[in-house]
Symmetry: C2
Subunit: 118 residues, 2 copies
DNA sequence: CTATCGTTCACCCAAATGGTTGACTAATAT
DNA sequence: ATATTAGTCAACCATTTGGGTGAACGATAG
């Protein structure tokens, strides 16, 4: 099944997943690490934190679920790679929100000028 | 105490609060509503959702905690107002992350050209 | 004075979250 | 053949989260 059309439902879900994933400090630190060093193995990532490897593995799965990272499984090593492009979903939502906001202010302004100068 | 200098700690906390707050669909819907209609009372907001007033009140408190909305208490009515500017914190983090990413790629590229043409 | 309105507060509940440990699979090294 | 390495899965635990209810409180309306 091709994703020719992402409906509002899915889009909201994607956004929720991304924001929730990015809402955790450890996960943001992982993203930063990947931005700095490029693709890394799960173990390499875990070495930077003093939580268990298992815990890191779970965080990575969350990030993967949100589409913020991808996994290339090469033999027994899993290379985790950042996908910065996905942040665009959040950018888009921000842009829309600000635009709705701006439109209202504009309409309000229009209304006021009409009233004071009919 | 004046906030002349927001340390890394606080900044991370702010970011976490904002992303967590925005990570909930109901709360995002509240933000959209406020963008469209301007300041609204708690009750007006609650009327748009089929969850209890109390639940909405809690959501608003979360948004307030994240600085995404402010409350002007006029007599017994609490006017809730959107603060779009706060989204800039997230923008900034995204920008930083992308910049770290871009810098690494640039360095990598530099390294490769040096190697092939010493 | 009493009723009603707008909100928060204090609990209660189920589900999700972030962490742990221990067992398991599969690949590599000795 | 055995030990080590890389990673996941499953179970468990404490805390947080999103929801609900009922009481309380201050202000305005009758």
């Amino acid at each position: 099944m091709l994703f020719t059309h992402m409906d509002e439902q899915d889009s909201q879900q994607r956004l929720t997943d991304i924001l929730k994933a990015a809402g955790d400090p450890t996960r943001r630190a992982i993203l930063t690490l990947l931005a700095q060093h490029g693709p890394l193995r799960v173990t390499d990532i875990a070495a930077r934190f003093d939580i268990s490897l298992n815990s890191v593995s779970k965080h990575i799965k969350v990030l993967e679920g949100a589409g913020l990272v991808t996994r290339r499984t090469e033999w027994r090593e899993h290379m985790i790679e950042l996908r910065v492009e996905e942040l665009a979903h959040v950018d888009r939502w921000f842009r829309d929100l600000r635009s709705i906001w701006a439109l209202r202010l504009e309409a309000l302004d229009h209304l006021l000028t009409q009233e004071t100068d009919p």
